[in-house]
């Protein structure tokens, strides 16, 4: 479909092959849309290369060693040796399989793949600069475009990433030896997941956080379970401490923090991992040329069809705003492609689940009790402690609970908070319940396999009804 010498044309042009972009591309290909996907680095984006997948790979691998080391109570005596370089190789293999898979799936669905960095040239053209010196560039005309350029880590002033002393999550996922000690700046989900990995690998981990607790978006009783476990495995926390600067000292560094009262503390460590949030990548796209502006945080506003203020341009994934999660981006990618194909799709989901892969995991979906109240419901809450779950006991892992929030009048399930082993999986059933408009009665009536952690879903629901079997009803 060559339009001129150096200009090609495409019906749908997608910038960025992360979960938002590649899913949009595959779905568009399935729908028979002539689709071009431009990626400057690696298929799969942050998620597959430097985010979800490598972090979860290291988490599950370190858990294998940690669980064996801690299993004396179960009659297991093990002293596993971990070779981090070997673990990282394995993790890279996992990543390669998945990114290779994404590339193949795109091709199988007839997506044109273009390697290079795209920016807008005018309302219906992007210019793509190919990687490497003298590789040239090309222009691609489009009818519709999807911006899916994702996000990058936020830098703290005075803490530019140097990959050596001050590292990002991306660097942390590719270390080839275990640091003796690590200061983690930021106790959000990325900081906590990685702090846990390194503590289990034997690193002396100190977490400094500006706010007053870990995992700030979560309720106190949820984050407390994670914090207690983190402290058990040796992580030290310092709250109300803002990282102000650092200097080299000996083999490592000294990180200075300041509290509200201006008091300075110092933390010595081999490295500092800074994980204080992520910002959208929209500044390199020449958005002006297509008539778009971002909000002050750099996000693109979209409507319920994933469309920006410019009719022909969609935005999906991290650039389209919170929650900055892969599965939210995937859904937006699907919807954008379907809308371009003229289908009656919309972002009309009731909730986006979220998981934190700490020890134990946290999984949430829908509203908390407070949020339900603010939304005008009279919420009723039910809870099941893992301590009373037969399955949790057989796993030797009984921290946490499953909680459900429902509307007291009609019984509709509004939300759930789970902090437990496999919490990331357990919220799936709640997610379906919320989308279906299921009531407490519906979930309580569903037979749940014994012995499973999923039974705590049913028990929490029955607790909200005042008729749980395996826990006392309040």
């Amino acid at each position: 479909m060559v339009v001129g010498d150096v200009t090609t044309g495409t019906e749908l042009l997608i910038i960025g092959a992360g979960p938002g972009g590649y899913v949009a591309a595959i779905r568009a290909g399935q729908l028979g849309i002539d689709t071009t996907l431009v990626e400057k680095d690696a298929y799969g984006g942050t998620c597959l290369n430097h985010g979800c997948i490598p972090s979860k790979a290291l988490i599950s691998a370190t858990d294998v060693a940690h669980d064996a080391r801690e299993a004396e109570e179960m009659g297991i005596h093990a002293d596993p040796a971990v070779d981090l370089a070997g673990m990282v190789d394995w993790k890279d293999d996992v990543v390669d399989q998945l990114t290779g898979g994404v590339e193949q799936l795109c091709k199988a669905n007839d997506v044109n793949l273009v390697e290079g960095r795209a920016e807008f040239a005018d309302e219906n053209t992007v210019r793509v600069a190919h990687g490497g010196e003298g590789q040239g560039s090309e222009s691609i005309e489009f009818e519709h475009a999807v911006v899916a350029t994702g996000s990058r880590p936020v830098e703290v002033p005075n803490f530019e990433f140097d990959g050596e002393h001050v590292i990002s999550s991306r660097d942390a996922l590719a270390l080839d030896s275990v640091p003796d000690s690590l200061v983690v700046v930021g106790a959000g989900y990325i900081g906590m997941e990685l702090a846990t990995v390194f503590a289990k690998l034997g690193t002396d981990v100190t977490v400094v956080e500006m706010l007053e607790g870990i995992l700030p978006p979560y309720e106190d009783d949820v984050s407390k379970v994670v914090r207690d476990r983190a402290e058990e495995i040796g992580i030290d926390f310092f709250f109300g401490e803002a990282a102000s600067d650092w200097e080299e000292s000996g083999d490592g560094i000294t990180v200075r923090t300041e509290n509200e009262d201006g008091e300075v503390s110092e933390f010595g460590a081999e490295k500092a991992l800074v994980a204080v949030g992520r910002a959208p990548v929209t500044d390199t796209l020449n958005l002006d040329a297509v008539g778009l502006e971002t909000d002050e945080d750099g996000f693109l506003a979209t409507d319920d069809r994933a469309r920006t203020d410019v009719e022909s341009v969609f935005a999906v994934g991290d650039v389209a705003g919170e929650p900055m999660l892969a599965h939210k981006g995937m859904k937006e990618g699907e919807v954008a492609a379907e809308v371009v194909a003229g289908e009656p799709s919309a972002l009309d989901y009731q909730s986006v689940p979220a998981a934190v892969f700490t020890d134990p995991e946290v999984g949430t979906v829908g509203m908390t009790e407070d949020e339900a109240e603010e939304a005008g419901f009279s919420p009723v809450v039910g809870q099941m402690p893992m301590q009373a779950s037969g399955r949790a006991l057989t796993l030797g892992d009984t921290g946490g609970f499953t909680r459900v929030v429902a509307d007291d009048d009609a019984g509709f399930i509004l939300g759930a908070q789970v902090v437990a082993p496999e919490a990331s999986e357990l919220i799936a059933e709640f997610g379906l319940a919320i989308e279906m408009g299921a009531t407490l009665e519906d979930v309580a009536a569903t037979i749940h396999t014994h012995p499973t952690l999923g039974e705590t879903v049913m028990e929490a629901v029955e607790n909200a009804q005042g008729k749980a079997i395996h826990t006392l009803n309040r």
Partner: protein, 74 residues
């Protein structure tokens, strides 16, 4: 106005019923749900579509989906 659309303006209906409402151009928030708590079913949506129509409702469901032209409202 069934209690299926609660105080929050939220509608309780399965994704398939919500999609059908879009397809049939029915405001699902205004549909009286016949399910528990006022949950709106696809049958409720179809009934609402037919009672909204001036006689040609029977064929609505078979028409191609309207091309969404939703502008950002703010």
């Amino acid at each position: 106005d069934g209690s299926g659309s609660a105080s929050s303006g939220r509608v309780f209906a399965a994704p398939s019923a919500r999609r059908l409402a879009r397809e049939l151009d029915v405001d699902i928030g205004a549909v009286d749900g016949s399910g528990p708590g006022g949950r709106v079913s696809d049958t409720d949506v179809r009934a609402a579509a037919e009672s909204d129509d001036d006689g040609d409702g029977a064929s609505t469901a078979d028409e191609p989906a309207p091309k969404p032209a939703v502008e950002r409202v703010e």
